[in-house]
């Protein structure tokens, strides 16, 4: 995993919304499948990403294409960092 993906995985493992899930997390991990992140969990993840990487994620960007898998989230952050 890249550093961003690893950081997100660490955050998720510590997150109350995810902590009780006994699964290995990598870039291909589905975040929104049944039992995955609920609306509060996604909001916590967005706040974490914005504060950690100093990026701004609009509500309009919180869609399955960007949050479906852990790797999709990392890609979104990378795109944000690349465009400043």
């Amino acid at each position: 995993m890249t550093d961003i993906s690893a950081d997100i995985a660490v955050f998720l493992k510590d997150s109350p919304s995810w902590a009780d899930r006994d699964v290995h997390i990598d870039s291909s991990t589905e975040l929104l499948q049944h039992g995955g992140l609920d609306s509060l969990g996604v909001l916590e993840l967005v706040t974490y990403l914005e504060q950690t990487y100093n990026v701004e994620i609009l509500d309009e960007e919180v869609v399955p294409e960007n949050f479906g898998r852990l790797g999709d989230v990392a890609d979104l952050v990378r795109r944000k960092l690349a465009t400043g």
Binding site: L32, Q33, D38, T47, D59, V62, P64
Partner: protein, 382 residues
Amino acid sequence: MDFEWSDDQRNLYQACAAFARAQLNDDVVGRDRRHDFSRHAWEMCAKFGIQGLPVPAEFGGGDADPVTLAICLEALGYGCKDGGLLFSLGAHLWSAVTPLWRFGTVEQKQRWLPGLCDGSLIGVGAMTEPGTGSDAFAMTTSARLDGDHYVLHGGKTFITNAPVADLFLVFATTAATTTVVGGLGCFVVERGTPGLTIGKPFRKMGLHTSPMSEIFLDNCVVDADQMLGSPGAGMAIFNTSMDWERSFILAPAVGTMQRHFEQAVAYAKDRHQFGQPIGSYQAISHRIVNMRLRLDAARLLLYRAAEAKARGRSTRIESSAAKLFISEALVASSHDLLHIHGAYGYMEESGIERELRDAIASTFYSGTSDIQRNIIASRLGL
């Protein structure tokens, strides 16, 4: 940092306020008593351009930037004393026009936005269910894909405009195998669609001229191309629309508070007790100063949110702060105006008791004050 409006902005404010004062205040006390929604006033607003303010001109709108939008809506609230009409306009603008404007395909925008802008269509979003409210995403209304259409089933409640609406933007779960974040859709349902039933209008404490009811969806079939955005984008659509709503739904309230303040000052100078104008007593003058302070702070929060929107920034703190503060300031301002007028303000004909009844709902709709504090706290990482 420039707090002054330009001449153009001042002229716009004056024009909107003059329009509202002249066209929207006919028999407000009587219509409030009869729970009458005024389709005529709605059409007058559309003719003036209110319903399409933020919409691009190519779809029939006014192409207004967020600051211009706030100026127009503040002026509307200054001139118009019909709180129910203002609320119905807000529901239309933020829960129907905005989702279509921000997420609709070109075909969807061409199909519905011109009518929503010109007043021929009244729209509203349908999210809340009997078992949900603040926990908005815990819904049970479902949308099942069946070939090239969806079958909607469930029910929604507290739907503003429903008794008079032509277009309903219904949120429903689309996939049992994903969380609501990826499994929520937003569907445009036209009045008259088989399976859609509108309930009887509710009787409410205030906002009597804004009709509200339940809606029921009993295997209601809509074409797949009536779903907004990409599959599973429902939460993004709802959150985006709510952020616009929190930013602007109380813009008219700032104008209303300006009117309250001016009315309070005039009455405090005119009304005499014990041989003195009542404004000479600190019990009254301090209350009016508090009205002014709340008004000034409310206006600053409104235009801070509008300015952030104009820059295309995420405005979660700014919009929730505006919604939270302005709503509570509106209730306090209405109560102060009533107190200053005493028994005269308590009389129906004064209109003041109605404005207090109308104001109270503002701390519930679009997310309660507690929910706004929760949103701000979460943005602070708390």
